[in-house]
């Protein structure tokens, strides 16, 4: 029974494909999965916008949307209808073709990453041999889309925003990849399915998630910070900093194209979050061995929602960084820490299995962290800022 419930979508797909001629079955199989993924994650996008607005509202002691539908649940729908019906304005000086292609490429690129993400047991579009590499390669396409959007608008704000976004994404791609390499080092595979399988085993009731190792924990935190920056979320949302460059690279977009950018950003965020889940949080694996009867995809989405909530929480808490702070964080803190974490993972790999490697690896990660933190703190002497004119 639990087996069936777990594999219900897989079985349903097979049952559907059974009606089709064998020649087009592979194509249709892929098509079905793609459509399913697009539908599910687009829905998740809608839910997330609602969740985000409600959550942020509550954090700011507001109610959030509450007019459209019960508890404002239909707000995303209203937003969608609004953006669809709005006038599509293209600047006269814009490079029309590029201007049009940019949001399309962004959404396409952000959806491409889902091809290798295992959503549940046996629920992955393709089990690529170099899946993680594929994911990051596709992720780098987003930079191009951002550049296209910023450049083709022929607006200084959008170009500035695009330049900021690209600089930020390139800078944080390095720690992002380096943070995930520890997992690859441990599993010895770039395949996402293999990585999840390695984590879906239990000692007693406890799972073998990588986040429960010293290097895994550090890697997870670093990965999440880099992912926040990579998906231009607060506090790293400089590219769209409303106060100085209004909305960054999509300032000249309106209507549905704007919605596409919005969608692309959220889908990209889901993808990196899902990657974090896959790499560190055991993918679709249940957190305790006695909970394995719950269908795997439910676990995946539960984790995803948890991470999304964390994103919202962070967004509601932290103010936006300055550009130099952003870059300093990337190159002076994230990069060294990921390299040290890599060292810790290597030590873990080569030390005999036992209790000894726990404190050693923890020390390798924690001591440089404390030193680095102290060094970074000492460099800047915080003091009360004095204004020359306004006081």
């Amino acid at each position: 029974m639990t087996q069936t419930l777990d594999q219900i979508f897989v079985l349903a797909k097979h049952w559907l494909l059974g009606f089709l001629p064998a020649a087009i079955q592979p194509f249709c199989s892929a098509l079905l999965s793609v459509v399913a993924i697009i539908l599910v994650f687009a829905t998740l996008f809608a839910i997330t916008t609602w969740l985000e607005r409600k959550g942020l509202g509550r954090m700011q002691n507001r109610l959030g949307p509450n007019r459209v539908g019960p508890c404002g649940l239909l707000q995303p729908l209203a937003d969608g209808i609004k953006s669809l019906t709005k006038e599509d304005i293209v600047p006269a000086a814009a490079d029309h073709a590029v201007h049009f292609m940019a949001p399309v490429l962004l959404v396409a690129a952000s959806f491409l990453g889902y091809a290798v993400l295992p959503i549940g047991r046996n629920m992955v579009l393709t089990n690529l041999n170099a899946g993680v590499l594929y994911f990051f390669a596709v992720g780098s396409l987003m930079e191009l889309a951002v550049f296209m959007a910023g450049w083709s608008s022929r607006s200084k704000y959008s170009l500035l925003g695009a330049m900021r976004a690209i600089a930020q994404m390139i800078s944080y791609e390095v720690p992002l990849v380096l943070a995930s390499i520890v997992v690859i080092l441990h599993t010895g595979s770039l395949s996402t399915v293999a990585i999840v399988d390695r984590q879906a085993v239990y000692t007693g009731i406890w799972p073998h998630w990588f986040v429960f190792t010293p290097w895994g924990l550090a890697g997870f935190v670093l990965f999440m910070v880099a992912a926040t920056a990579e998906s231009n979320r607060s506090p790293f949302d400089l590219p769209e900093g409303e106060s100085e460059i209004i909305a960054g690279y999509y300032i000249e977009y309106s209507g549905f194209k704007f919605a596409l950018f919005f969608l692309g950003e959220y889908i990209g965020m889901f993808a990196t979050s899902a990657m974090a889940i896959t790499l560190f949080l055991g993918g679709w694996a249940a957190p305790f061995s006695f909970l394995t009867w719950v269908p795997s995809y439910l676990w995946f989405f539960a984790k995803l929602l948890a991470i999304i909530s964390a994103f919202i929480w962070v967004r509601g808490t932290l103010p936006r960084l300055r550009m130099d702070q952003l870059m300093n964080l990337a190159w002076q803190f994230m990069l060294p820490m990921t390299l040290i974490n890599l060292l810790a993972a290597g030590v873990w790999q080569f030390m005999p299995a036992g209790v000894a490697r726990w404190p050693v690896c923890a020390a390798i990660v924690a001591v440089p962290f404390l030193l680095l933190a102290r060094g970074l703190k000492q460099k800047r002497k915080f003091q009360l800022r004095t204004y020359r004119f306004s006081q």
Binding site: R58, M59, N61, L63, W313, T317, F333, F369
Partner: protein, 213 residues
Amino acid sequence: MLGDGILKGLAETARNFFGSYVSRDRLTTIQYPEQRDPQIEAARSFPFLVFDGADWQQGLRCVSCQICEKECPPKCIFIEKSKDKKPDAVGKPQFYPVRFDIDISVCMSCQICVEVCPFDAIKMDVDYDLSTDDRFGGLLLDRQRLAKSNEHYNKIHPTEAAAVDAALAEERAKAKAAAEAKASAAAKAATEAKAAAVANPAPAPQPAAGESQ
């Protein structure tokens, strides 16, 4: 340690998040159409024209002097003066506006028109439910839509309106007394010298009008 400040901040937002469910006091937002804050007396939105009595056309205080039209910084007032005159509240014959339009999409609520009006004929309203689906006609208010009764004025700005009413009442009383004096004098004169003053029927109102201006 690096990051403890972030954790502190996260705890703060979490406290607010859950607190907003627990205590109603935290939620400061007013659910607007259903709830409203009581209006404060000094509030103002856009100008309106005050009329006395029941009939707005009869009771408009405006004498179409066009000072406000000239003084309006964004030039959102348009006045067309009448050809004829009709008696005002004091009973004196005055011009009246045939057209009086204010484009409130242009108006900037500066209240200069109110300051310059010598007749206390134009005042600031407090109404803000002005949204309309007609971008042009719906926001160009004509004479009829601008006219609000003195009772309305008394309701929205009671203190100010009381002072204005008192001043007006005093003026009217004075004018009435003068008129009565004049009338009695005229009657006396009429009785004394009926034949002498046929050519000059009524020279008295002119100084009275000059006084009231």
